[in-house]
C-alpha cells in the first residue's frame, strides 16, 4: 500500500471522525449540562438526515441552505422535546433521575423512529451528492468533493461551536451552569432557558452530522442506532473530559475505522464497538481518562 | 471474646469524625457510648459493623480485624446491630422480620426458623401479633422488633444505636430490662449508643464518653457522672 493511499485513507478517516465528533459533542453537552444520558441522540441525527434530504432533493436547495435548514429544524425538534418531556421530568424528578431519564430517552427514541417509519415509510431517502460530483485534487491526493466538503463543514461547525462556548456570553453562561447550576441560578441565570438552549444546540450538532452525510448514509427510520453508539463510544472512552479530548478520540476513531474497513466488515466493526463499550463500562465506567465525577465536563 | 478498638481514625472530607479512638468492649459487659451530638458515636458503630471503613486503626474481634470486612461478613462473626433511624422490613410481617435475622446466620430450614423466631418474639415480650406487617407498628414497637431481629442472629456482641431515643419512660424501662436480661441470661455483650444518659447510667457496667471524635473519659457510671470533662461537654444539657 503506497503513501498516497494511506494519506487518502487518513483524509477519509478524518472526515468520518469529524462527524463522530459532532455526535459525541452533542451527547457530552447534553449529558454534561443537563445530566441527561441521551439514548435518543441517534434519532436527532436521523431527523437531520431527513431534513437534509428534503432540502437537497425535494426543495432543490443548495448544500449550505439545506444544511442550515436541517440544523435549525433539528434543534427545533430538540427544543420541543426538551420542553415537553425533559423539563416536566426534572420538575417531577425522583431520586432516580438518571435511570428515569435514560428510560425516557429510550422511549423517545422508539417514538421518533416509529413516527419516521409511519410518516416517511421504510424506504431510504437520500441524494446523489451533498456538494457535487467529482473528485478534488488536494496537493496530489484525491478525495471526492462530497467528502471534502463534509469534512470542511463539519470542522467549521465544531469550530463555531467551540467559539460559541468559549467566547460568547451565552456560551460562558452555559459553562457556568455545567460547573455549578445552583450558583449560576443564584446569579440570576434562568436555568430552564439554558437547559432548553443547550439541548437545542446539542441536537443541532447531531442534525448537522446527519444532514452532511445524507448522500453517503441516506435517511431511513432506524438509522440512528449506529451514530448513537459510536457517539457514546467516543464519550465513554474520552470520559466526559474536555472538548479537545472528545474531538481527538473521535478523529482517531474515524481514522481507525477507515483503516479497519480493510480488515473487517462494517458489521463486525459494530460488534467490536459494543464489546469494547461493554468492557469499558465494567472496568472503567468513568472513562479511560476521566475522573470519577460525571458532570463538570466543561470545567477547563 | 473482647472487641478491641485501636486508634481508629475516620475522616469525611475535611471533617475528622473519629480521632484516635481506643477502647475495649469486654465479652460479658454492657458498655455505654455517650457524647454530645456529632461526637462520632454512630460513625464508630458504622465502622465496627462494616458500613464505613476507618482511615486508620484496627478493630479486633478476637483475632480478626473487622476494618476490611463487609457488614454481612461481620454479622457472621457474631456481631450485629440496630440502626439509629430504625430499619425494619416494612412489608414483611413481624415474624418474618425476625426470621430474616435468624435464617441467614443459621443453617436451619424455614419451618424451624419460624418456630425459633416465635420464641424470640416471646422472649422480648413483643406486644403485638406476629402476623402484622412491620410498617404498621409504632416507633417503639419497631425498635423492639429490630432488637428481636438482632437477637435472632445469635450474636455474641450487640451494637444498639440509640434504641430508646424518642421513647416514653415506660418503654425505656422495658428496653433497659430487656438489655440487662439479654446480657445476664444469654451472655451477650452489648455496646450501647445513647443520648439518654439516665438510661445509660442505669443499664451499663462501664461507659465511654466521646466528644468531637475523641475519647474523653472511660469508666464505671459513678465515675463518669462526676468527671469534670464529661460535665463540661454536656454543659447546659441533661443533668447526669
Amino acid at each position: 500500500m503506497d503513501v498516497t493511499t494511506v494519506i487518502e485513507l487518513l483524509l477519509a478517516g478524518l472526515g468520518r471522525g469529524a462527524i463522530y465528533a459532532l455526535m459525541a459533542l452533542g451527547l457530552a453537552l447534553i449529558f454534561g449540562i443537563l445530566n441527561i444520558p441521551s439514548f435518543a441522540q441517534g434519532e436527532f441525527y436521523m431527523v437531520g438526515t431527513y431534513f437534509g434530504w428534503v432540502g437537497l432533493s425535494i426543495l432543490g436547495l443548495g448544500p449550505f441552505v439545506a444544511l442550515l435548514i436541517a440544523a435549525f429544524a433539528t434543534s427545533l425538534v430538540g427544543i420541543c422535546c426538551e420542553k415537553i418531556l425533559f423539563a416536566p421530568l426534572r420538575r417531577f424528578a425522583g431520586e432516580e433521575w438518571l435511570v428515569n431519564v435514560f428510560v425516557l430517552t429510550l422511549g423517545l427514541s422508539l417514538v421518533l423512529q416509529n413516527v419516521a417509519l409511519v410518516t416517511a415509510g421504510p424506504l431510504y431517502y437520500g441524494a446523489p451528492y451533498f456538494w457535487g460530483p467529482g473528485t478534488a485534487d488536494l496537493f496530489g491526493f484525491r478525495i471526492s468533493y462530497d467528502r471534502l466538503m463534509i469534512a470542511v463543514l463539519a470542522t467549521t461547525t465544531i469550530v463555531i461551536f467551540w467559539v460559541f462556548l468559549k467566547r460568547t456570553r451565552l456560551g460562558r453562561t452555559i459553562r457556568a451552569v455545567a460547573q455549578n447550576a445552583d450558583a449560576a441560578s443564584l446569579t440570576g441565570v434562568n436555568l430552564g432557558r439554558i437547559y432548553t438552549i443547550t439541548f437545542g444546540v446539542g441536537c443541532m450538532l447531531s442534525g448537522v452530522a446527519g444532514a452532511l452525510m445524507v448522500a453517503i448514509l441516506p435517511a431511513y427510520p432506524t438509522m440512528g442506532i449506529i451514530p448513537l453508539y459510536k457517539g457514546w463510544f467516543v464519550v465513554i472512552v474520552a470520559g466526559l473530559g474536555t472538548i479537545g479530548g472528545c474531538i481527538s478520540i473521535a478523529l482517531l476513531l474515524g481514522v481507525l475505522e477507515a483503516v479497519g474497513l480493510l480488515v473487517a466488515s462494517e458489521g463486525w466493526q459494530s460488534f467490536l464497538y459494543i464489546i469494547i463499550i461493554c468492557i469499558l463500562l465494567i472496568f472503567k465506567p468513568f472513562g479511560v481518562f476521566g475522573k470519577r465525577e460525571v458532570r463538570g465536563i466543561w470545567e477547563k | 471474646m473482647a472487641l478491641r478498638i485501636g486508634s481508629v481514625v475516620k475522616r469525611f472530607g475535611g471533617l475528622l469524625a473519629l480521632n484516635d479512638v481506643s477502647f475495649e468492649v469486654r465479652s460479658n459487659e454492657i458498655l455505654g457510648l455517650i457524647g454530645p451530638n456529632g461526637s462520632g458515636k454512630t460513625t464508630l458503630i458504622n465502622c465496627i459493623s462494616g458500613f464505613y471503613r476507618p482511615d486508620s486503626g484496627r478493630i479486633l474481634y478476637g483475632e480478626k480485624n473487622l476494618t476490611r470486612l463487609k457488614p454481612y461478613e461481620i454479622s457472621r462473626l457474631g456481631i450485629t446491630r440496630t440502626f439509629q433511624i430504625v430499619e425494619v422490613f416494612p412489608k414483611l410481617s413481624v415474624l418474618e422480620n425476625v426470621m430474616v435475622g435468624m435464617a441467614f446466620s443459621n443453617p436451619i430450614d424455614l419451618n424451624e426458623t419460624r418456630h425459633k423466631s416465635r420464641e424470640i418474639l416471646e422472649y422480648v415480650g413483643f406486644p403485638r401479633e406476629e402476623g402484622i406487617l412491620a410498617r404498621y407498628l409504632n416507633t417503639g414497637q419497631m425498635k423492639l422488633l429490630s432488637v428481636a431481629r438482632a437477637l435472632a442472629s445469635s450474636p455474641k456482641l450487640l451494637l444498639l444505636d440509640e434504641t430508646v431515643a424518642g421513647l416514653s419512660e415506660s418503654e425505656q424501662t422495658k428496653i433497659a430490662d430487656l438489655v440487662k436480661k439479654i446480657n445476664t441470661e444469654l451472655g451477650i455483650a452489648v455496646l450501647l449508643v445513647e443520648h439518654a444518659t439516665k438510661f445509660v447510667m442505669e443499664v451499663c457496667d462501664r461507659i465511654v464518653v466521646l466528644q468531637e471524635g475523641r475519647k474523653i473519659a472511660e469508666g464505671p457510671p459513678e465515675e463518669i457522672s462526676k468527671d469534670e470533662k464529661v460535665l463540661e461537654a454536656y454543659l447546659g444539657r441533661e443533668e447526669i
Binding site: 444520558p37 439514548f39 418531556l85 416536566p88 421530568l89 417531577f92 424528578a93 425522583g94 432516580e96 435511570v99 428515569n100 435514560f102 428510560v103 425516557l104 429510550l106 422511549g107 427514541s109 422508539l110 417514538v111 423512529q113 416509529n114 413516527v115 417509519l117 409511519v118 453508539y229 466488515s265 458489521g267 463486525w268 459494530s270 460488534f271 459494543i274 464489546i275 461493554c278 463500562l281 465494567i282 465506567p285 | 459493623s49 462494616g50 454481612y72 454479622s75 450485629t80 430499619e87 425494619v88 422490613f89 416494612p90 414483611l92 410481617s93 415474624l95 426470621m99 430474616v100 435475622g101 435464617a103 441467614f104 446466620s105 424455614l110 406476629e130 402476623g131 404498621y136 431481629r149 442472629s153
Partner: protein, 322 residues
C-alpha cells in the same frame, strides 16, 4: 384486613375466588374455540405475560432493570434453533440449552455488573442486548441473519401433534411452561430462604446486610434466574414461530415486555398475564393501529417516567407476589 398477613398456605381473598375459574377459562378457550388465530393470540399472551412476570422478578425485588431482556430471550431462541438446525439436537433438549445459555450469560453479566449503580446495569444491559443483536446479524453463516432462520417444529410427543395448524399442542406446552415458571417464581419468592432474602433486600438493604445477607450474591442469583427463564421461553418461541430474525433481540421488544410488566404486573404474577392478555388482544382488535404499536409503547413509557417520580423500579416494586 390489609394489616394482617396470614402465614398460612392459602388465603381466601376475592383474588383467589376469581383466579381459579379465570385460569380454567383461559386454558379451555382455545380448545373450545378451535381457531388457529385464537390459539396464536393466547399463546403470545401467555408467552409475553410470563416474560413480563419474570422480568418483573428482577425489577420488583431488586430494582434491576434489564434492558437487554429481549436479547436474552433471543439468545435462548437462537441457541435452540441452531442446535436443532446445525447439530440436529432435539428441540425439547433445546429448551434446556436455551435456558442454560441465557442463564450463563446472565450469571456472567450479573457478576460483572451488579456491584455498580442501577444506571450502569440499565445502560450495560442495553448495550449487551445491542451487541447480541449485532452478533446474530453479523454471523449469517450460522444464524442466517436478516434472511431468517428456519426452525423445526417440536417433535410429536404422545398425543401432541405440533404440525397441527390449530396449534393446540403448542398451546398446551405454553400453558405447562408458563404455569411451571410462574409457580417456580412464586415458590422461590415466598417459600425459600432465597425469597426471604430478596424480600428483605427490597425492604431495607442495610438491615438485610446486618442479618448476614450478601446483596451482590442474591442480586446475581435473581438476575441469573430471570435470564434463564427468558432463554427457556425464547427457545419455546423459536420452535413455535419457526422463523427467527435478529429483530427479536432489539430494544423495542424489551420495551414491549416492560410496558406489559408495568401495566399488568404492578400487583402480582397474575397481573403480568392479565396485562399481556389485555395488551395483545387490544392490539389485535385495533389491527389498523399495528403500525403505531411502538409509538404507543414509547409514549406510555415516557408518560410513566414523567408522572411516576419513583420511576420504574419503585413502581414495579409495589408488588406482593402471591
Amino acid at each position: 384486613m390489609g394489616e394482617m398477613k396470614k402465614i398460612t398456605m392459602t388465603r381466601i381473598t376475592w383474588k383467589n375466588i376469581i383466579a381459579l375459574p379465570s385460569l380454567a377459562l383461559m386454558i379451555a378457550t382455545p380448545f373450545v374455540v378451535r381457531d388457529s388465530y385464537i390459539s396464536h393470540i393466547f399463546i403470545l399472551a401467555l408467552l409475553y405475560g410470563t416474560l413480563a412476570a419474570s422480568f418483573d422478578f428482577a425489577v420488583g425485588y431488586l430494582g434491576i432493570v434489564n434492558f437487554g431482556y429481549a436479547a436474552f430471550m433471543g439468545l435462548g431462541a437462537y441457541t435452540s434453533a441452531i442446535a436443532a438446525v446445525t447439530f440436529g439436537i432435539n428441540p425439547w433438549l433445546g429448551l434446556l440449552l436455551g435456558g442454560a445459555a441465557a442463564g450463563l450469560l446472565g450469571l456472567a453479566t450479573g457478576v460483572l455488573t451488579l456491584r455498580l449503580y442501577g444506571i450502569f446495569v440499565a445502560c450495560f444491559t442495553w448495550f449487551l442486548g445491542m451487541g447480541l443483536m449485532f452478533l446474530v446479524a453479523v454471523t449469517p453463516e450460522v444464524t442466517r441473519g436478516y434472511l431468517g432462520l428456519s426452525v423445526p417444529f417440536f417433535p410429536n410427543v404422545w398425543i401432541l401433534d405440533f404440525t397441527d395448524p390449530l396449534r393446540l399442542s403448542y398451546f398446551t406446552i405454553m400453558v405447562i411452561l408458563s404455569l411451571s415458571i410462574l409457580s417456580l417464581m412464586y415458590y422461590l419468592g415466598n417459600r425459600t430462604k432465597m425469597g426471604l432474602a430478596f424480600r428483605a433486600l427490597r425492604g431495607s438493604e442495610p438491615a438485610a446486610m446486618v442479618c448476614g445477607i450478601n446483596p451482590l450474591k442474591y442480586r446475581v442469583i435473581n438476575f441469573t434466574i430471570t435470564c434463564a427463564i427468558a432463554g427457556t421461553l425464547g427457545s419455546f418461541y423459536a420452535h413455535y414461530i419457526r422463523i427467527l430474525t435478529p429483530n427479536l433481540l432489539q430494544t423495542s421488544q424489551t420495551i414491549q415486555i416492560l410496558v406489559i410488566a408495568y401495566l399488568g404486573g404492578r400487583g402480582s404474577l397474575w397481573g403480568s398475564i392479565i396485562g399481556a392478555f389485555l395488551i395483545i388482544t387490544l392490539l389485535e382488535v385495533l389491527r389498523p393501529l399495528e403500525a403505531y404499536r411502538f409509538i404507543i409503547y414509547g409514549v406510555i413509557l415516557i408518560l410513566v417516567m414523567i408522572f411516576y417520580p419513583g420511576g420504574l423500579a419503585r413502581l414495579l416494586t409495589r408488588k406482593e407476589l402471591y
